[in-house]
Symmetry: D4
Subunit: 217 residues, 8 copies
Amino acid sequence: MIFKDDEIIVFAGDSTTDDGRMRPFAEGNNTLGMGYVRLVDSMLTVLYPENSFRIFNAGTSGDTSRDLLKRWDDEVLFLEPDWISIMIGINDIWRQMDRPQIKYRHVYPDEYRSNLEQMVTKSLPKVKGIIIMPPFFMEPCHDDWMRALTDKYHDIAKETAEKYGCIFADVQKYFDEYLKHRHSSSISWDRVHPGIIGSFIISRAFLSAIGTDRQLY
Amino acid sequence: MIFKDDEIIVFAGDSTTDDGRMRPFAEGNNTLGMGYVRLVDSMLTVLYPENSFRIFNAGTSGDTSRDLLKRWDDEVLFLEPDWISIMIGINDIWRQMDRPQIKYRHVYPDEYRSNLEQMVTKSLPKVKGIIIMPPFFMEPCHDDWMRALTDKYHDIAKETAEKYGCIFADVQKYFDEYLKHRHSSSISWDRVHPGIIGSFIISRAFLSAIGTDRQLY
Amino acid sequence: MIFKDDEIIVFAGDSTTDDGRMRPFAEGNNTLGMGYVRLVDSMLTVLYPENSFRIFNAGTSGDTSRDLLKRWDDEVLFLEPDWISIMIGINDIWRQMDRPQIKYRHVYPDEYRSNLEQMVTKSLPKVKGIIIMPPFFMEPCHDDWMRALTDKYHDIAKETAEKYGCIFADVQKYFDEYLKHRHSSSISWDRVHPGIIGSFIISRAFLSAIGTDRQLY
Amino acid sequence: MIFKDDEIIVFAGDSTTDDGRMRPFAEGNNTLGMGYVRLVDSMLTVLYPENSFRIFNAGTSGDTSRDLLKRWDDEVLFLEPDWISIMIGINDIWRQMDRPQIKYRHVYPDEYRSNLEQMVTKSLPKVKGIIIMPPFFMEPCHDDWMRALTDKYHDIAKETAEKYGCIFADVQKYFDEYLKHRHSSSISWDRVHPGIIGSFIISRAFLSAIGTDRQLY
Amino acid sequence: MIFKDDEIIVFAGDSTTDDGRMRPFAEGNNTLGMGYVRLVDSMLTVLYPENSFRIFNAGTSGDTSRDLLKRWDDEVLFLEPDWISIMIGINDIWRQMDRPQIKYRHVYPDEYRSNLEQMVTKSLPKVKGIIIMPPFFMEPCHDDWMRALTDKYHDIAKETAEKYGCIFADVQKYFDEYLKHRHSSSISWDRVHPGIIGSFIISRAFLSAIGTDRQLY
Amino acid sequence: MIFKDDEIIVFAGDSTTDDGRMRPFAEGNNTLGMGYVRLVDSMLTVLYPENSFRIFNAGTSGDTSRDLLKRWDDEVLFLEPDWISIMIGINDIWRQMDRPQIKYRHVYPDEYRSNLEQMVTKSLPKVKGIIIMPPFFMEPCHDDWMRALTDKYHDIAKETAEKYGCIFADVQKYFDEYLKHRHSSSISWDRVHPGIIGSFIISRAFLSAIGTDRQLY
Amino acid sequence: MIFKDDEIIVFAGDSTTDDGRMRPFAEGNNTLGMGYVRLVDSMLTVLYPENSFRIFNAGTSGDTSRDLLKRWDDEVLFLEPDWISIMIGINDIWRQMDRPQIKYRHVYPDEYRSNLEQMVTKSLPKVKGIIIMPPFFMEPCHDDWMRALTDKYHDIAKETAEKYGCIFADVQKYFDEYLKHRHSSSISWDRVHPGIIGSFIISRAFLSAIGTDRQLY
Amino acid sequence: MIFKDDEIIVFAGDSTTDDGRMRPFAEGNNTLGMGYVRLVDSMLTVLYPENSFRIFNAGTSGDTSRDLLKRWDDEVLFLEPDWISIMIGINDIWRQMDRPQIKYRHVYPDEYRSNLEQMVTKSLPKVKGIIIMPPFFMEPCHDDWMRALTDKYHDIAKETAEKYGCIFADVQKYFDEYLKHRHSSSISWDRVHPGIIGSFIISRAFLSAIGTDRQLY
């Protein structure tokens, strides 16, 4: 388990991270929205009640990597985290699909890589570690245009994690396992927003990645 | 153009037909919801202002073919239509995907065929004609579990139309053409609910099928 | 068909154009309100899915030509359009009828002509073309005070279009045809706001004027 | 002044009478809606404070003469009125204009005459008098289809009043005088619903007809 | 009748004048609230349709004469009225009764006289005339503390009107006549806010004072 | 102190008693509305925490003594009270003042006496005692029509209490003392509804009458 | 892991189980409220995607064991469960504390034992097994009146489980462990309603008790 | 009785004082929230109607002593009080319990003492006297972590009152007496917020402390 007592962990991301979090920033389980950040905070609290993990949700619905990079100093580093978790990129991809005519809102792979690298390199000197979670798409068919594109961004996220020694939590892998048994519509209307079941799948990836060494049951 | 002055046309279906129609039944353009039924009514009114087409929306969100059959006498034939349009089946399919554990709500192909045939045979003696639109899924990949299943129901709808001399309006074909150029997420979050753009696509199929002989522009 | 891939088209106007559009400006079909702008965008998307037309709704409810001229630079030219559609003037007329005592809100014919000419001459050097739609009133009787006045503004709009080589889309003509068969109250309470049926009538005029070369059905 | 202390006066009609009255029936100025019935009650209270006039609003929005006749016993005679005021018919006319395709909701002149006569003959033996106000349309042009039709119903109302010795309060005449000076849109969006200014015009006709013998100022 | 075509009349006052008027200032019958200002505007429109009276409601709920004086330049003279109507003072009195402990909100007779005189003297050079209506209290018993105090302010208003040649519209007199026949609770819960019946009583006083020379009926 | 542990006390009355109580009947401090019943319950709980007084609010807004008598068996005796408190009559009086024309809702003194006597005689055999509180009016001037009438009903309530050996809690006396120092508008808009300050005044009368033998401070 | 594919599991209980579940009964993750039932369903779905567990929430806020017993046939056995989970009793206890005066709503230990035994004996012949969870109170101090009483009911629940061979999931034990490290106010305002963190604690007990043999991370 | 006519009394504190008070500051019984401040104001008004006590509620929900000190000049001394009542500290304590991980929001005993002393010493030269009420916790068991901590802060408040000659109103003592007879849950869900019954308990302490020399009953 990599987190220690009194450490600050900031979760940066888009709507999957945000999920209705309180604004402006606040601390405490009930400020964290209804998604994976709150599930993770709740489980860590139950598993390690003798420790205080100070968890912040810095997700903002609709963010692309470009948007997140713009607010990185003011909303992520500003919180003086010990650890940062990043899950970003699906809106970089999705806007190319659902709003093809609005090109200035598209963030293509090269810019994505650059945005992610800037977040990492700005932060590394100030934190104990970074967890990168790739964008995921709940679609098993790799021929789907959007899954194919998501695979590209997934690889960029993974390569970036490896290049800078970050922890990589492969969320897509856990979703792919689930999708061998059930259709995506059993979790999500749009294959992007995870709902509570999908948030547990993300939590699996995250809790494994940080070396959680106590079990719930 | 098959419809004549003062004829009654009833659109039976599920949420794609319903789309927020007024309850209880009422007549008039503003009672028809925001979907393809209202688009079709509006366009026919503009194109043939000297005729009165009495159009009713008998769609009910969430209906499977089993549900629609149950209310067929009371909510469709009750209206004494000259023409009936049927678009049903996607919920027969979808529930097998998104609620796999709730088996009593699944309607499998054999029952679908039987339900549809009962609607048709009950109605044929009383109406001038029936238009059948198959269920559609906005997914071009035929390997997708749900598209593959939709293809089966599509064929059943088509076979039923042919067997009983109904008009078949192939909605799926028009969606497939569109999806060669744009990703499904440009129209719909869940690949089922069409939004206004998808409703125009359905209208294309419907207006062609009924032999509309005047153009908008 | 005069529009090309990736071109920006801005619809300027009053409440008939606005019809509940999103504020502040945004792009995408669901930001365009519920009137003719959304219908036109939807139909063009369905007819030409391989092209991206970037359509903006710059209508503002209640605007006279004087109001529209004031915001022309900031809200129309600011969007760097390739094409501009203008439908303005009914509030210039209506205020003389429904608020006779509030004279400073009346815009008389001479000022209307001047306002419209300024919009056109400011824009011509920067765009590929301008479509002018005259104000219309859903009243067939030319003796009606308001119809008689609308006819004057209609002529000014037409003369302006001709003088500057703009495309003129004669909306009133399409409404007059409809009103030969049905009373105005079948579309509109106030003979000004078109509802969805009236919006289709406007779309007829517009789609014809721009040379739409594919049919829906 | 025909009304005496403690007499009950019931106003029967459609939305112009109703205008948001309280449901179920109640007595007292604040239960009478925001239309001419409340204005009349208020002015009579101010002019004759030593008398108690028990005024009921029995208007129901949307009513045709057919609808009003159906509820005549239960909602008008049930109140045991000394005087009845009737203003009905505009929806008999309007539905022929705004919903031409829904013919079963049209009430043609012969039925209108019959409905009105039945209301009168049922009531005459039980009351001290009946005031009939004809349907009116705020349109000065008699060529307008709806005004022309309203003129027919107006004449039927007048003939019925004369035939049975009822008081006839010619509301249309007062509106026509007003419309010599101002356009209908200065009072009403749809030329049917009067707003507060139109309600004063109706009150003029009514207060004159009942022989009001004190002035406000 | 003192008002002429195209003249501006501003009604200054407190909640009895305000009565829900639109904010910020606007012109037109529907912006005038639901009190005597709208009644007066409606009746003048009906009686003199060939004239345009531009009526503004500048009442503000809760205002004492001290508050009204503060906003006199910005909200009354700013409108460049031809005529001003002032009804102010009841809150000067009422706060002494209902909030005896909050003395800084009390406005005593001397200050009231001074405030009213300042409003008048500032305005007289710029307008054609001023109508003063005194504060009124719907209580016939002169021994009541609040009625006794209102009588004092009434006299001050009257003396001010006489001193400066203003028109004095004695609202209290009309209420006193009414209260000979009915208890105050038949109009008002608190003996201050007039409701629609009380608003007609105020209108009586006002319309008489301005020499209205046409009758409603 | 007349109440003992586990006894049931029911407060019957009109809006002054009701004051927003929960419906249907429930027990517990938070079900008792915001008026004197809750204040009395709260103070008794604080003063006698070792005892359980089961207090019910059976007030209904708008009730006259006629209305209360009708529901006496079903809503008062039904609760099997040990003690009953009755405060009724103000609506018997008030309707004569504020709705003079609606005579069937007036309850005159003879009927009031009869109604009250029936409540008492029906109940006496089943309870340990009855507390009667007279209707009160927050107006010191006995010449006021409504105060004069309230005095009559007050005397009837007092006589009834004496005749049947009930406890009489003279609420009016406490209000009169208060009104020597402050105007009624410092407590109440309409001189009937007491607000929280008036509710304390009622509580004074009630707590004195039941012989409360512990002090708050 | 005791549950098998396609088995029905019903969770009976009070507000801790209910937690905002959909009404009337429905199946599917999003119908299960926001408490431990949804957490358990979500985790089982993620852990065993190849199985369908049909989970129903039959909790009702405010229920005592007496209330639950009354609806046992209609709302629990009616669902034909394979497994039943029961967590009931805290309201039996709480009402003795927070509403001491309302004795008929108190359920004392003997009745609690009897109620619970009846639920178990009625059900055992029809199900594969029963899980009993005792009522819990988030208070470590056994001297607290309510904790002391909860201990009694806990023992009754445990004895009943042992007597009838039910699975006993000792929720209180998991809460007591947590409360060694943190004050109850870190989870719950009232020490009864668990919030999401407390719901995870209940889930720990439940998932352990049913022999969950796969781990989340 | 220490308060005199026309004196200003300001109640400073947290949510127990605030209890929904109006914002921004206003005077008058109905601006004081629903807690003990309004009860005290109401009782003093009833008991001493010939005096005007100008009571302000300066409580702010959530305030610790640190927060209150920050706004002391602007929101307490700004009001120029003759008397100040201070009840602060429970949030200093509670945050250590319910948000153990958010340490910067904890206010430990030394800082509490310092904060309180600064409020007192800043104010003493400007006022006639200060009433200090200690923070209280509705828990009789002194072993409870939060009660034990509250006892410490209670002692600090008491010592501060003694050191500076302030009046000390021992609220906790009154609650402890009540809790000998009833469980805390009969007043409060969280043992902190008092509800109306707890507000009467606070009022007992306060009214005793200020030497109230008239009784309610």
